[in-house]
Each structure stands twice: as structure tokens, then as C-alpha cells.
Amino acid sequence: MDFERRDAPFVTPATDVSSMMREVLYALIPAAIAYVWYFGPGLILNFIVAALFCVAGEAVMLRARGRSVETGLSDFSALVTAALIAFALPALIPWWITATAALFAVVVAKHLYGGLGFNIFNPAMAGYVVVMIAFPLHLNLWAAPDMGDLDYHYLTLFETARYTLTGTFPDYLSFDSISRATPLDTVKAGLRDLRTFEEIRVNPLMGDFGGRGWEWIGNFTAIGGAWLLARKIIRWQIPLGVLAGLLVPSGIAYFLDPGVHASPGFYLFSGGTMLCAFFIATDPVSAATSNKGRLIYGLGVGFLIYAIRRWGSYADGVAFAILLMNLTVPTIDYLTKPHIVGHVKSTQDSQ
């Protein structure tokens, strides 16, 4: 009788890194469709540019470090980084800024720390913060959604590609005619000018609760995130933490004085909140690793987003909040080491 002999592992895991990363990319598709619907095809071009440079940077670094390029590229993590960069950047942006962000993300934030699994900082957010600080002018130009203006112009693929490649528009277009302040900027400037939130909301730019266009991108991002939750690719602790960390302080402030504070709904559905809660903060490498630690991490991210939006000088605090909490992850992990089942806590351990 001939028995089949097998070595461990005997149970193959349902997900590996590659399929997990691919599902994260699929889960971003609804949000991407909403983004293109409202703000033109810039997102797709940015994704292509970011993907090219992320993959190229990854390949060069893997080769330089003497690793297998094929294995390194087949985990799709470079493409997820590229997608997050494309979502973080404005829809209209010259290609070299996207390329800078992508290369910094993959080469410095990821591979200098040892590549996938070792990076302390979220690569996409590190790359984004670098270009945000280095090129503030380009990072503050956001295309406007259709708000029923007579002169509204939906950017064609050609116009977008021309701007991405050359940084110029055809003669009949200029940035002033197609761009607007973002809802986050509008609220920040309005509250600073001592107008009430109700007065600011009259602006059609503000949409129903989170800004025209942005609220629907937020909704579709959350749908993608729910799917990731259902597929058990991400766990509930971090999204819940981020949303609660943002909702509780903004809710208390709005409850105490609704005049001078933005509503909690606005905080949740504007800017990158949903993307942060479901796709950025849940990065399994740079987030905390224990369940309790994840909750603390998420709450910290949420509160820092609130603090930066309310008191800081940057409009959306997502990238900074993520990097700041990335700093604390080793400490959080140290403090929330899970108790080993079956071990009696000795006095030595508790010291």
C-alpha cells in the first residue's frame, strides 16, 4: 500500500498576500468609478503613472538587493500603494509629482526598511506627505464637480492627459475656470471668518452632508470597505476606531455648539476619511498587530484627523494622522502584548 507523504503546512490558507492585495484593488473600483464620474479621468491617469513608477522602483530595488524580482512583484503590493497615491493626489497633477510620490513610497519608505512586511511607515502616505510638503502649489489645485454651473466643463481624457504630461491646458481652459476650493477648505475658511456651519452649507459645493462628489466617493469607498470586512481581509477594530475617534470629538463639539463646529457627518464623508478608515489605516504592516492595539491605533488616527482638520493648517489630516500613528505602533505593540494563553502572569513579567 502506497501512502501519499506530505510535509507541513497541511492546511493551505484561504488568502495569501497576492490575492489579498488583489481584492483590495477590486474593492477600490466602486470608489474609482464615482471619482471619475465627478472629477474626470485624472484618477486613472494618476494611477497609471504611479503604478509604472511603483513597479519600476520596486523592481530596481529588488534587483539591487539581490532578491527575486518576480516574487517581489507578484504580490501586487506595489499596485495597492500606487492606487492609494492616486486617490490621495488631486485629479489633475503633472506626472512628475506622482512619480516623486511613488518612488519615495516604494524606494525609501518601503525598501530601505527591508521591503514588504518591515516598513514602519505606510509607504503611500509617506510618499504623499513628501510631495505635499515639497510641492504645495500643485497639491492645492482641485478640480470642481458639476454643480449646475452654466460654464461647467467636464474634462475630457485628452485635456487631462495633456495636463498630466505637460502641466498646461489648451487655450480655452485655465485652472481658474475648472477648479474650486475643496469642501474641507471652504469649511475651514468659513469658520475662520466667523460664519456658522449652516451658512457655509448653503454653498452648492457642500453637497448634502460631505461636499458635492466627495460624499458619494466616501459612500462607495465604504461599500468597498464593507466587502473587505465581509471577506475578512481587514478586521473591524481599525475602521471602527478611526470612525469613532473622529465621530466622538466632532459629535460632542457639534452638540455643544452647532454654530461654530462642522457637523460629524461632514467629518465622516468629506476628504479621505472613508479611504483612511477602510484602506489606508488597515495596512497590515504599518498598523498595530494585537486586537486591542488596533483599536487604540484606529482611535488615535481618527482623533488626529479631527485635531488637524480643526486646529491645524492642513485641510485634510489623513496622511499626517497615519504617519503620526505609525510612529507610535512599536510602542503600542509593546504596551498591548497579548497575554499568552495558559501562562500564569508571574511577578517578573508584570514589571
Binding site: 530601505l112 509617506a126 506627505v129 491645524g312 493648517s313 494622522a321 503620526l324 510602542t331 509593546y334
Partner: protein, 193 residues
Amino acid sequence: MTDIILILVGTVLVNNFVLVRFLGLCPFMGVSRNLEAAFGMSLATAFVLTLSSAVSYLLHQYVLVPLNIEYLRTIAFILVIAASVQFTEIMVRRLSPLLDQVLGIFIPLIATNCAVLGVALLNVQQAKGLVQSVFFGFGAAAGFALVLVLFAAMRERVEAADVPVAFRGTAIALMTAGLMSLAFMGFSGMARP
């Protein structure tokens, strides 16, 4: 009260002495190799900074200004800081041998920490009162302690990572400090009166 809170938020987060003003980098790189040493250094620095900012304020206000010799303040402050560090060391050794065991070797290091002199000089430059000066010194020390402990924990993790050979050790630690500094730019604009 709001004044004090603004000073604390300002010194701990917005104008962190290490990551934004780039003061006190030597102990930041030197004592961050493990978490326990970093913790000890933080406590010792907090004590000395608070003490020396009070003493240097009094020295400036009641000795240098009446005698019209403010131009001597740098050298006078160095003297006061060295004296207060020595005083701390002697007191700790006499009063608490246990604390001396934990902090003993770190205390002399503080005398060469440029953040201590920086705090004393900034206090004079910004014409703060005694209470504000003390809280400014305490906030600076708390900010130093916060980033030192976080940095030490990160370095322990980076040591274990598969870092390219050329970047192992101080190189990757400096990169990490740079990225931390980048993250702390997110606090800019906060704590404006």
C-alpha cells in the same frame, strides 16, 4: 490657564525640540538604542530642563539685567546648567540610590544637551515670565521624552528588520528621524493663540 496649555501643546507637538527645532539630536541618536535607557534619559532630562529653565530665568532677571551684562547670558547659562546638572546628580545619589542606579549615567550627558541651553535662551528671547518659563522647559522635556521613547521603540523594530546592508544602524535611524520630522509637520498651525 489657556496660556499654559498652549505653551505645552506648542512645545510638545508643534515646535517639538527634537523634530522641529532640531535641538538635542545627540542624545536622541545616542540613547535611543533601547527602550529602558530612553525612558531613564527622558526622566532625567525632564527634571534638569525644568529646574534649569527656572534658575536661568532668575539669573537673567535678577543678576544679568540689573548689572547690564545681558551679553554674557550664553556663558552664564552654560555655567548654571552645568551647576544644576551637578546638583541633580549629587542630590539623586544622596537621596535615592535606586533612582541613581536608573538615571546615574544619563545625568552628566544632559550637561551637553543643546536643548537645555536652547530652552534657556528661547525663554529670554521670547520674554516669558517665571511660570511660563518653567512650563516651557517642562514642555520641551516632555516633547523630548515623547519622541525619544517612540524612536527607541521604532529602532528596536528596525534593528530586527531586513534593512539593506548600506543602511543598517545610524543611516536608517537618521532616515527614520527624518520621516518622524515629516510626520510632525502635520501639527503645524496648531496652538496659535
